[in-house]
């Protein structure tokens, strides 16, 4: 069994492509677990970072520094009664969250965590991703309609109109990125995600910085459309508390609501991982060619270990600053344990075999984490767009800019 695993680890094709379903399902399981852990972490992170941005502490009571808060939330949501409005359309009411969750998760089939770490490498990767993300609109529309009350319906219509219009801007930005892949003299362009990252590797430049302003503009168009696609931060009008109570998922509660919650976060992670793959060189470590050479490779390979050690250190700082009152004894032990675990992971990551394998997954998730921080930062600072302004930005600003960038990239590609 061991050499079977070893033989797989250094094979150069993704499991899906290699056709062995066993490894593909292992990957799917891994991604599913990784994603739910990420969603739980995001839940805690969002509340803490947002709190600290707003001069307050965020959850501190459940577990040390609120670390157990997400778990408490999950349990609460599971236990809470799951009511359904009386005349609601049962079947559709039940289907809607399922649709939204499925679409949010299927995007990850295509996302490349490493040259071989992706469930499968479809040669229409990007197209598949766009298609699935457009399906999630259906879930939201049906959810809004199924709870047949006035406000969720308006919320659903608004959010679907918003997502449909920002999808186009997103598509244009993605096309201009895909266009860049084909402009190297060596091969023709490719839609497959791993192909895109490899062409960035070959062209020795991240697409965000290719043809200097164009790549960046396309990246920004995508970044804005991405935020609007997931109904977050300045574009979170459908859940605007001040007007439409809670938008399309007002009538949901308990487990079904947590499905929407899960779908929203995984959609956020999915969309930012696409941005990372297309523009920021998926699993490539930063400055692969400027700072090449073995010394730099070593330094960069040590970084994952260092980050985990740093996290462990932060946990220990928390332990020392924990008040000495006996009530906090359990929490201090918990925090110390957490710190030790982090430290161990950090040390583990220093072992040579683990070190170079973890490299690309680490860099990919670091970049995605950066995007997550951006999401939270937006939520802290920006007020909300009004619906017509939201549409204006979508149609009158992002769309023309997207088309312009597309044309310019094509021209630049031909000329340069």
């Amino acid at each position: 069994m061991l050499e079977y695993i070893k033989s797989y680890l250094d094979s150069n094709t993704t499991p899906g492509q290699a056709g062995n379903l066993f490894w593909a399902s292992v990957y799917i399981l891994l991604i599913f677990l990784g994603l739910s852990v990420a969603v739980i972490a995001m839940n805690w992170l969002e509340r803490k970072i947002l709190a600290h941005m707003q001069v307050r502490l965020g959850p501190m009571r459940v577990g040390p520094h609120g670390l157990l808060q997400p778990i408490a939330d999950a349990i609460k949501l599971l236990i809470k009664e799951d009511i359904m409005p009386s005349q609601a359309d049962g079947f559709v009411f039940w289907v809607a969250p399922i649709v939204v969750v499925i679409t949010a998760f299927t995007v990850f089939i295509v996302v490349p965590f490493g040259p071989t770490h992706a469930v499968t490498d479809m040669n229409i990767g990007v197209l598949f991703m766009l298609g699935v993300s457009s399906l999630s609109v259906l879930g939201i529309v049906t959810a809004g309609w199924a709870s047949n009350s006035h406000y969720p319906l308006m919320g659903a219509l608004r959010s679907s109109a918003q997502m449909v219009s920002y999808e186009i801007a997103m598509g244009l930005a993605v096309v201009s990125a895909v266009l860049m892949t084909s402009l190297n003299q060596t091969g023709t362009g490719t839609l497959s995600m791993i192909g895109i990252v490899q062409s960035q590797q070959v062209q020795q430049i991240w697409f965000a910085f290719k043809f200097f302003p164009l790549g960046l503009i396309a990246f920004f168009v995508f970044a804005v459309a991405m935020v609007a696609e997931t109904n977050r931060a300045p574009f979170d009008l459908p859940e605007a508390e001040s007007e439409l109570t809670a938008g399309f998922h007002t009538e949901y509660s308990g487990f079904r609501w947590s499905l929407f919650f899960l779908a929203e976060y995984s959609a956020m992670i999915a969309v930012s991982s696409i941005a990372v793959t297309l523009w920021l060189g998926g699993w490539l470590r930063p400055f692969p060619h400027l700072l090449s050479g073995s010394t730099w490779d070593l330094v960069f390979s040590l970084l994952p270990g260092i980050t985990f050690l740093l996290l462990g250190l932060m946990a220990f700082v928390g332990v020392f600053r924990m008040p000495k009152h006996p009530y906090f004894r359990v929490q201090t032990i918990g925090l110390a344990g957490f710190g030790v675990v982090l430290g161990l992971i950090g040390l583990l990551l220093f072992l040579p075999p683990v070190r170079d394998r973890i490299q690309d997954v680490f860099w990919f998730s670091a970049k995605v984490a950066f995007f997550m921080y951006l999401y939270i930062w937006y939520r802290g600072t920006f007020p909300r767009y009004r619906f017509d302004q939201l549409m204006k930005v979508g149609w009158k600003v992002l769309l023309p800019v997207g088309i312009g960038v597309l044309i310019l990239t094509a021209v630049a590609g031909v000329l340069l």
């Binding site: 707003q54 001069v55 007007e243 939520r379 007020p383 767009y385 017509d388």
Partner: protein, 381 residues
């Protein structure tokens, strides 16, 4: 209790108006964005607001009726409960009106203390307004900044008069309590603490593109309409009318401080925001001057134990944070006022809501209610 007979002013002469997707939404009394218990009935055409009608009175406690059964001093705490956000200025207005009735003058030191506390209260009221207004429009962070700073002011109030919100700080004829030891030092410390903080709010909002887009050109009202509708306070000044009772008819030692009155040009939500931020700075200037030049001396004028003002009536108004707060007191010579009429700025400003919101969008109704800075305790009395 939905009263079917509600009556929209525009119903009679726009009968042919109800075409297919006419929508009447009830922004109910317990809606998150109405500051207190205000019910606005919106007549919508899709997103556009065609007309509004405000249903108020949910918080009506009959203050004026109670006044006729209380003596002058006993009625003083009731006044704080009207505009519970700016309780100090309510008390100031009432005490000064009765002093005018008694033809008594508060000693200079009491006047200075009154000015300091009133301006601190204006700051607290504007901070609360900024926090909730930004929250309505979606910016969550300013709320926490403003409440952290407002806490400092409430600490000073608590130390001086024992209560944080409904302070009952003044008595007829001056102030009851001498300033506690270290009052000046604490207020000075507060001034240095807050001045950069206002810069922080401005940094967060003034140049924030989305904030500008959500407020510029929203709920505009011209100077002429403001005066016709009796709108006063920052809303009037934002429309370009340079009028502030502290300057026009100075009361309680405002004459010997120099401060400007900020005015806006176009009278939209953004100008009101700028005017109120500037007013906060002016209040800081006033407090600084007042603290430096606070005279020594008695804090209570010679006022009889039982107040029996001569027969007669007076109207006296002060510049409350929301606008002109006026008291019309009729006395029949007995210890209880015969009639106390309170002219509440929020009540009259709210009347302008219908004009300001016409042909705007639903999201703007929330922004306009926020920018009018109404407090329902004062609207319903």
């Amino acid at each position: 209790m939905t009263d079917p007979t509600f009556h929209l002013e525009l119903q009679e002469h726009e009968k042919t108006f109800l075409d297919s997707n006419e929508l009447i939404i009830n922004m109910g009394p317990q809606h998150p964005a109405t500051h207190g218990v205000l019910r606005v009935i919106l007549k919508l055409d899709g997103e556009k607001v065609l007309g509004t009608e405000c249903v108020i009175g949910y918080l009506h406690r009959g203050v004026e009726k109670i006044a006729e059964h209380r003596t002058y001093t006993m009625f003083n705490p009731y006044v704080d409960r009207m505009d519970y956000v700016a309780a100090v200025s309510n008390g100031l207005g009432y005490c000064e009106s009765v002093e005018k009735l008694l033809n008594v003058e508060a000693p200079p030191r009491a006047k200075y203390i009154r000015v300091i506390l009133a301006e601190l209260n204006r700051l607290a009221s504007h901070m609360l307004w900024l926090g909730t207004h930004a929250l309505d429009i979606g910016a969550i962070t300013p709320l926490f900044y403003t409440f952290r700073d407002r806490e400092e002011i409430l600490k000073i109030f608590e130390k001086y008069c024992g209560a944080r919100l409904t302070t009952h700080a003044f008595r007829i004829g001056g102030c009851l309590y001498e300033t506690y030891e270290g009052f000046e030092r604490e207020v000075k410390k507060f001034l240095d603490f807050v001045t950069p903080k206002i810069g922080e709010y401005e940094e967060l909002l003034t140049t924030n593109r989305i904030w500008v887009e959500r407020t510029r050109g929203v709920g505009t009202i011209s100077a002429k309409d403001c005066i016709a509708l009796g709108v006063t306070g920052p809303v009037l000044r934002a429309s370009g009318v340079k009028w502030d009772i502290r300057k026009a008819q100075p009361y309680a030692a405002y004459a010997d401080f120099d401060f400007e009155i900020p005015i806006g040009q176009s009278g939209d939500t953004y100008d009101r925001y700028i005017v109120r931020m500037e007013e906060m700075r002016q209040s800081l200037r006033i407090i600084a001057q007042a603290i430096d030049r606070i005279p020594e001396g008695p804090i209570m004028a010679k006022v009889p134990k039982v107040i029996k003002p001569p027969v007669g009536e007076i109207y006296h108004s002060i510049e409350a944070p929301k606008g002109e707060l006026g008291y019309f007191i009729v006395s029949d010579g007995s210890t209880q006022p015969y009639r106390v009429r309170v002219r509440p700025p929020s009540f009259v400003n709210l009347q302008a809501l219908d004009l300001m919101v016409r042909d705007q969008l639903v999201a703007d109704v929330i922004a306009v209610i926020g920018t009018l800075d109404i407090v329902l305790g004062e609207v319903d009395r």
